[in-house]
């Protein structure tokens, strides 16, 4: 999963496709509630899209929060509605907060695990690359030795 340079030809091909059929990552998350702007497209590097970008999204969203700001769309009785919500929240806090805490803890552990796995995967990939390189070098040396023996008539 090493980063590598990308050719402009490849990028412009992607841009062409994106103009024809816009796509975003977040649209997958929110497609029911918030349709993405159809004129916007996000192109990610081919080596990152499936894992790194999603990991980044996970890391941004694991920390769920129950104490968000309360509001209302009602003009009339709006402040009353907010007060009722605040009262409800304070009355249910004893039940909600421990659950939120558990979910946060779980999310944190899952996120950490995912990153550990990704880093382990990368380390393994590097190790495999190094071993392949080592093996190729060894095989080349063996072949060169055999060729020399043949050329010297000792084979």
């Amino acid at each position: 999963m090493q980063s590598k340079d990308i050719d402009v030809e490849q990028v412009m091909e992607e841009v062409n496709k994106a103009v024809a059929a816009p796509s975003t990552l977040l649209a997958d998350f929110w497609k029911d509630e918030r349709p993405a702007a159809p004129n916007l497209s996000f192109i990610y590097p081919p080596y990152s899209k499936s894992l790194a970008v999603n990991l980044d999204l996970v890391s941004r969203n694991w920390e769920i929060e129950s104490e968000f700001e309360l509001g209302t769309r009602r003009r009339a009785l709006g402040s009353l509605a907010v007060s009722v919500k605040k009262l409800t929240r304070s009355l249910t806090r004893w039940y909600v907060n421990p659950v939120v805490h558990q979910v946060r803890k779980f999310n944190m552990l899952v996120t950490r695990t995912l990153f550990d796995l990704a880093n382990n995967l990368e380390a393994l990939s590097e190790r495999v690359d190094a071993l392949e390189h080592e093996d190729a070098g060894r095989r080349l040396a063996e072949l060169e030795e055999r060729v020399s023996r043949l050329e010297n008539g000792k084979g």
Binding site: D7, E9, V11, E14, N39, L40, A52, V53, R60, E122
Partner: protein, 621 residues
């Protein structure tokens, strides 16, 4: 192309087995060469695979069959001795793909009396550019080729003088042979071509690379097919070369310098340093490297710069510190030069204090000079502008333009230093979905990640969704012209010109007073530019090829109190985008007109020449 006067040429093809590649070489040579007066002379070095018999059966090919393998050098010399006019040495693992190759090389060879040898661009079997001249980095003396291995985007398309060319395809004028003879027989193979170019230079003949000719080179097919001891032969030849040229090559440097900066990264300092160091070396400046941060022990990919790193430290040289002001305290030479710029309208007090502790200051533009003077810099100030590499930024660089749609391109990092959100809002406000226009945002996520420790710990690059989340929060309208975000793509830096050429207008949305080289590189490619009218950009704005976006000034986040940078309004951006869209044809023509001047007046070689002049003046004190 037709030559006014075609001189006779012998194309010498040396063979030693490898019948199949030889067949391919001769077939393409005979079929594709349009030159009216050439002969093909095959010198066979004792092949045992039927090559001499096959060559003898080909009409119009002269064969000289040696009884044994004389090696590359003596084999070619047999051919040179058997010819009477100019010669071309052509490897049997090459393939001719261009009908006028020989005319073009001959025309360049005779365009000046002091041009003696002409090489050409060589692409490998995959079509990647592997050769456009050679250079000899010191102290390793391990010869290298321009550009090494890059996708062919028509870089090095101009004819240009070079240190050397390889003998896989080289045109040699008879006048050179008459003066210095054939290849040096102290070499068996390898280094003989560099040696020959240096010898020709000593005799008063330059070596050029013909940018208009490309030949396919299958590379080492002969040695591979013949199981030759590549490394052993290479080492022996290098020893011979060192015994002849080590001292003369070391003596080519007439100035000295220690360069402290960021090297081989992707930021502005690194990219400018990489280009400048090459140009300084070509200008005869012996540079050794210091680093402003890290990398001291790293092995660098660039052979020439790696060699500079391995030269011994020398505190008696002038030192240039090219980096942020906070790192100038690293200076420890006998004469220390700060090469700096400010992103704001002035330098902050701490920076001025550091600059004034040094002996001299170089800045990147007249704007920066005024800012330095206004901030209280007391040292001698020289303007050393950032440059452009004309081999990679010119109107012939490969383009991948979108068909039927006008493309704005903006390169930026998502953060306060760029007017990214304002540009997006202006574009989507201004252009409807029916208009054939697109904004391509080539955007990098912020380096300083705020998402938490885990995100910053990840070793995987190109993985930030921060830009997408930030754009989503802007709640842009849905029914407008398209915007495509190219996020965190590590586009090969040498292909930047190709990216600019794929756009109809390059937008420079930097709020900084030194936005770097995007504008000048785009102009060198003949692409119109739209830039915020502030700082170094203002000096390039001419109202036609490069148009300015009016702006106010606003406090720069994170900078010292009172320092400001550009703050373009949405309205001014809208107006500028609309004008660029509607006046695109005129702007394109003007940009093409401006291209040549930019490429030659603002080349890195020209900047290096200015620097060398200054270094020589310092040395004379």
């Amino acid at each position: 192309m037709a030559l006014a006067y075609a001189r006779p040429v012998s194309v010498i093809v040396l063979t030693w087995n490898g019948l199949e590649v030889t067949k391919n070489c001769l077939r393409t040579l005979l079929d594709n060469t349009a030159h009216p007066d050439f002969e093909v002379l095959v010198v066979d070095n004792g092949s045992t695979d039927g090559t001499p018999d096959w060559v003898a059966s080909i009409d119009g090919v002269r064969l000289i069959a040696n009884d044994e393998n004389l090696g590359f050098v003596r084999g070619n010399n047999v051919g040179i001795e058997a010819s009477t006019g100019d010669v071309v040495l052509l490897n049997n693992d090459t393939e001719i793909v261009q009908g006028d190759w020989l005319e073009r090389m001959q025309e360049l060879a005779y365009s000046a009396d002091d041009i003696g040898l002409v090489g050409c661009r060589l692409v490998n079997a995959d079509g990647r550019l592997v050769h456009a001249g050679t250079y000899m980095p010191l102290p390793s003396f391990w010869g290298q080729e321009y550009p090494g291995d890059e996708a062919d985007i028509s870089q090095y398309a101009d004819d240009r003088p070079v240190e050397g060319v390889i003998a896989a395809c080289v045109y040699i004028k008879r006048a050179v042979i008459d003066k210095i003879g054939g290849l040096d027989t102290d070499y068996f193979s390898y280094f003989e071509d560099t040696d020959y170019c240096l010898k020709a230079a000593r005799a008063g003949f330059q070596t050029w690379c013909c940018g208009g000719v490309t030949v396919k080179h299958l590379e080492n097919a002969s040695t591979a097919g013949n199981r030759m001891d590549f490394s052993g032969t290479f080492r022996k030849s290098r020893d011979v070369f060192l015994s002849k040229w080590k001292t003369p090559l070391e003596e080519r440097y007439t100035s000295r310098l220690t360069w402290h900066s960021f090297i081989s990264g992707r930021g502005l300092y690194s990219r400018a340093s990489d280009k400048l160091l090459w140009s300084l070396d070509r200008a005869g400046v012996d540079v050794n490297l210091g680093f402003l941060e890290g990398a001291e022990r790293a092995e660098l990919d660039d052979f020439r710069i790696n060699d500079m790193k391995n030269r011994p430290a020398d505190r008696d040289r002038p030192q240039v510190l090219f980096g942020p002001a906070g790192m100038l305290s690293r200076a420890d030479g006998s004469y220390n030069i700060a090469y700096v710029f400010t992103p704001c309208d002035r330098f902050d007090e701490a920076a001025v204090k550091e600059i004034n502790a040094l002996d001299e200051v170089w800045v990147t533009s007249e704007f920066q000079k005024k800012a330095a003077l206004a901030s209280g810099v007391k040292r001698d100030i020289q303007v050393m502008p950032l440059g452009v590499d004309p081999d990679y930024f010119h109107p012939g660089i490969k383009s991948y333009q979108l068909s039927g749609r006008f493309a704005f391109l903006a390169n930026l990092e998502w953060g306060p230093g760029f007017a990214g959100p304002a540009l997006l809002e202006a574009f989507t406000d201004e252009f409807s979905a029916e208009e054939k226009v697109v904004l391509v945002m080539n955007v990098a996520s912020p380096v300083d990640d705020e998402a938490g420790a885990w995100a910053s710990e990840t070793a995987i690059s190109g993985g930030s969704a921060e830009v997408e989340e930030a754009v989503e929060a802007l709640s842009l309208p849905m029914d407008r012209a398209p915007v495509v975000f190219v996020v965190d793509h590590e586009i090969a830096p040498y292909q930047a010109g190709s990216l600019y050429r794929s756009a109809d207008c390059v937008v420079v949305p930097d709020r900084s007073a030194e936005p770097g080289t995007v504008a000048i590189e785009s102009l060198a490619c003949g692409v119109p530019v739209l830039a915020i009218d502030f700082g170094s950009s203002s000096g390039l704005i001419d109202g036609s090829a490069m148009k300015g976006i009016p702006c106010d000034l606003a406090p720069a986040p994170g900078a010292a109190a009172g320092l400001e940078w550009a703050d373009p309004s949405r309205e001014s951006l809208r107006k500028a985008l609309r004008e660029a869209f509607e006046g695109s044809e005129d702007a394109r023509a003007k940009a093409l007109d401006a291209s040549e001047g930019i490429r030659f007046q603002r080349s890195w070689d020209e900047v290096a020449r200015l620097m060398k002049e200054r270094l020589d003046a310092i040395a004379r004190r």
